[in-house]
């Protein structure tokens, strides 16, 4: 890959890739490993592979998604092979968040967001946090534009209901 393209278009979005990997894997070390591997793969990509790339961000996000899915599948197989059924990984991210008691409203909403169906969760992340267009989200997640819009609508509706619920809880607690 061209050194200039890598440093102008790919390396600056490493934090976006990390957040997306973290959203998918729910684990900080695994998200870091995913990003490291993605950047190395992009760097080593041949000229033929990278010549036709129009949108470097969407291309790298797609690679991040695929690598994160590989990591999740690998973890699932490991859990299946575990004799006592216990996961040896240090729980953090989503697992830890689910186990921990919510302390404030922001944490509750974050946990709720992490509990959304995967498609809704990832569409919402790519739109509301990474600010990708519908077309880019469709490309990264390999789903249709209609699925993107429907998933985003459902995710936001669910978040809004959760906000109302938490707000009511805070109101009743203050009485």
């Amino acid at each position: 890959m061209n050194w200039t393209i890598f440093h102008q278009h790919v390396y600056p979005i490493r934090d976006k890739l990390y957040r997306f990997a973290l959203r998918m894997t729910g684990s900080v070390p695994e998200a870091e490993d995913v990003v490291q591997e993605v950047l190395e793969r992009v760097w080593k990509a041949s000229e033929e592979q990278s010549d036709g790339v129009q949108n470097w961000e969407a291309w790298c996000m797609t690679m991040t998604r695929n690598r994160s899915l590989d990591t999740l599948r690998s973890n699932a197989r490991r859990q299946m092979k575990s004799l006592d059924g216990l996961d040896e990984r240090t729980p953090d991210g989503a697992d830890a968040a689910q186990a921990a008691e919510a302390r404030d409203m922001a944490d509750q909403v974050r946990q709720f967001m992490q509990k959304l169906p995967e498609k809704q969760r990832l569409v919402m992340h790519l739109r509301d946090i990474e600010e990708l267009s519908y077309e880019e989200i469709s490309q990264v997640l390999d789903i249709s534009l209609d699925q993107v819009k429907v998933s985003l609508h459902r995710a936001r509706k669910a978040i809004r209901e959760k906000l109302l619920e938490v707000d009511a809880h805070i109101y009743l607690s203050s009485k």
Binding site: P29, E40, W43, A106, V109, R110, D128, H153
Partner: protein, 212 residues
Amino acid sequence: MIMKQMSNIRELLDRYWDGETTLKEERFLKAFFAREDIPEEYRQEARWFRILQSEQSVQMPGARRIALPVRRFGWYGMAAAAAVLLLTAGVWWWTNQPEPEAQPIAVIHLPDKNQKQVVQPPTVVVTSGGSEKQREMTETPVRKTKTRTPSKVKSSIQFELIEDTCDDPEQALAEIKAALALVSSKINKSKHTLEKGLQEVDHVDVLLKRSM
């Protein structure tokens, strides 16, 4: 104005929750809810957009940030770099060589053209063999150079001595007189020879006219 803006915010929020806003409108909402003075009626949305803002600022932990790949240089790249380096050094060395020219003995300031005429000293040609078997005076070209301080040029012709070899001005004057006397005698001798040659030419011319 403020009421109209708030009305627009409510309309934008309704469209946002329905998933019908553009990226530009969503960025506007994020900027709006980043303010401190948010009305109470928008507290739920304010919480949500602050969560999004917080999520957007998440970075890879500093301790394990990835290392930049090192740029790979092939043999061709290194050879090209070395060639450019050598060429640059060669050009620099060539342009900084001192010119082997004789030291001028005087600089003549011309009054109107802001330029100097440098009079070179006579060169001495020594023939091969190591000894000075033959010396001959040769004319040297006059080299013209532009003056750096044209304001110093005066209206009359000036002679600027480059190097003063005499401490005593009277001795210098005597030497100049002697040199001029030598030049004068040479010129007179040449003039006499020329006049004699012209007389012979005239004599031959008369003889030719008579024979015709």
